[in-house]
C-alpha cells in the first residue's frame, strides 16, 4: 500500500513540542523493515530510513512508508548513522533517535527515551537493556564484552554506562552537532559515547526493553568478537588521549 511521505512542517521548533526524527539505518533488512515501519507509522514521530547500499528491496519497501536516504554504496553503520544525523540537524529537528532496522528496538520504547530527555535534558540518552530484567539481553560472551567496554568507559571517563553498544539512543542538537562533524566509522556505538563524554556532553541511560533479532545474523561473531573488543577498547583509549577517530 502506497503511503504518503511524511514531511516536516516548516515551523520553528518549540521547546514544549520538540521535533523528533527517527533515523533507521538499514543494510539488507528487507525482511524486517516493512513491519518495523508499520509500527513506526503508529508513533507521532517523523522517520527516515538510511539505505546503506542494500542489495535487496530495503529501499523500495521503505519508500512505501517513509522517506529513504539512499547512500550510493555501503559506508558501514557509522557512515549511515552520521548521514541520518546530518539530515536531522540540517532539517532543524530538536531530537534524533537512532532505531536499528533489524526490529530489535520496539518503537513504543522511544517514549521512554524522550521522557528521560524531558526530565534530564541530557545531550545523549542511551536505551539500556541491562537496567531492567525484562527483554532480550544478548548471549553470555557478548555480555562479557559489553561489561569490559562499560568498565573501560568508567575507568577513563568516570561515567557508568551499562549498555555502551546499544544502538537505541536519543541525541539532542548539541550531540547532533558533534556527531555531524565527528562520528566513528568503526564500532560507532561505544566510541561515540567516549567522544560525547570527551567533549563534555551529558550522557545518560534509561531502561528499555529490546527484542531479539527477527531476521538475519549479527556481523560480530566468533573470533571477530575478540578482535571487536580489542579494537573498541583501543579506540576508546585513543579518544581519551585526545584523538578523534
Amino acid at each position: 500500500m502506497l503511503r504518503q511521505k511524511l514531511l516536516k512542517a516548516q515551523t520553528l521548533s518549540d521547546p514544549a513540542r520538540p521535533r523528533v526524527l527517527l533515523i533507521i539505518p538499514c543494510f539488507n533488512e528487507a525482511g524486517t523493515i516493512g513491519s518495523l515501519l508499520r509500527e513506526v507509522s503508529e508513533t507521532p514521530y517523523d522517520s527516515l530510513v538510511i539505505d546503506d547500499g542494500s542489495k535487496d528491496d530495503t529501499a523500495e519497501i521503505s519508500k512505501e512508508w517513509t522517506q529513504c536516504l539512499s547512500l550510493p554504496f555501503n559506508l558501514g553503520i557509522g557512515g549511515a548513522v552520521q548521514s541520518g544525523i546530518k539530515y536531522a540537524f540540517r532539517q532543524n529537528y530538536d531530537l534524533c533517535v537512532q532505531v536499528d532496522g533489524d526490529g530489535q528496538h520496539p518503537p513504543e520504547e522511544i517514549t521512554k527515551l524522550v521522557s528521560h530527555w524531558i526530565k534530564t535534558q541530557a545531550n545523549l540518552v542511551i536505551g539500556s537493556r541491562f537496567l531492567s530484567t525484562e527483554g532480550f539481553k544478548s548471549g553470555f560472551a557478548r555480555r562479557l564484552g559489553i561489561q569490559l567496554i562499560s568498565r573501560c568507559l568508567f575507568v577513563l571517563f568516570k561515567n557508568s554506562i551499562t549498555d555502551p553498544t546499544s544502538g537505541f539512543r536519543l541525541m539532542d542538537r548539541k550531540a547532533m552537532q558533534l556527531f555531524c562533524e565527528y562520528y566513528p566509522a568503526d564500532f560507532p556505538e561505544p566510541t561515540s559515547i567516549a567522544l560525547a563524554l570527551g567533549h563534555g556532553l551529558n550522557v545518560q541511560e534509561t531502561s528499555v526493553i529490546m527484542r531479539s533479532r527477527t531476521d538475519g545474523t549479527s556481523s560480530i561473531y566468533g573470533w571477530k568478537s575478540v578482535s571487536y573488543i580489542i579494537r573498541v577498547l583501543s579506540q576508546i583509549l585513543q579518544v581519551r588521549l585526545g584523538g578523534i577517530v
Binding site: 511524511l6 513540542r17 507521532p44 539512499s70 559506508l75 557512515g79 548521514s83 539530515y87 524531558i118 566509522a185
Partner: protein
C-alpha cells in the same frame, strides 16, 4: 674492509640498478603520479646504495660506529626505515581519503533527498499531511 665487500661486479650491478630505477622514478614524477615526498622516500632505494659506492670509507666508519660487522646490514636497515616512513604516509593518506569519500557519498545522498523534498513541496498536486509534533506534556505526566 669495504673494498672487499663491494667488489667491482657489485658496484657495476648497483650502478645499473641505480640508473634504471632513476629513469623509472623521474618518469613517474614527470607524469605527476608521485608527489615530492613519495618521490624522495622512493629515491632512498637509489640514494643509500649510491652513498655506499661513492663514499665507502664514510660508510665503513658509520658501520663500525653502529657496531655492525657486515656493512650491508646498515644499508638494508636504512632502506627499511625509508620504507616504513613511506608506508606510514600511505596509510595516513588512505585514511584521509576514506573520510573524504564517506563525506562525499553522504552529501550526494542528502542533496538528492533534499532536492526530492523540495520538488514535493513545490508540486501543488502533492497532498502532504501536517507533521504531528510530539506533545511533551503528556509524556511528562
Amino acid at each position: 674492509m669495504s673494498h672487499q665487500i663491494i667488489s667491482p661486479l657489485t658496484t657495476a650491478s648497483l650502478i645499473l640498478f641505480i640508473a634504471g630505477y632513476t629513469v623509472f622514478l623521474v618518469r613517474a614524477k614527470i607524469r605527476e603520479t608521485l608527489d615530492i615526498y613519495d618521490f624522495a622516500l622512493l629515491s632512498a632505494v637509489i640514494v643509500w646504495p649510491a652513498f655506499t659506492i661513492l663514499f665507502p670509507a664514510t660508510f665503513e666508519k658509520i658501520t663500525s660506529l653502529m657496531g655492525v660487522k657486515f656493512p650491508f646490514t646498515v644499508l638494508f636497515g636504512l632502506l627499511f626505515v625509508s620504507s616504513f616512513i613511506l608506508f606510514t604516509r600511505l596509510a595516513s593518506q588512505q585514511k584521509k581519503n576514506e573520510k573524504r569519500i564517506t563525506a562525499m557519498a553522504q552529501e550526494i545522498a542528502l542533496l538528492k533527498l533534499e532536492r526530492s523534498d523540495n520538488l514535493s513541496i513545490s508540486n501543488p498536486k502533492s497532498k502532504i499531511p501536517a507533521q504531528n509534533s510530539l506533545n511533551t506534556e503528556s509524556l511528562a505526566a
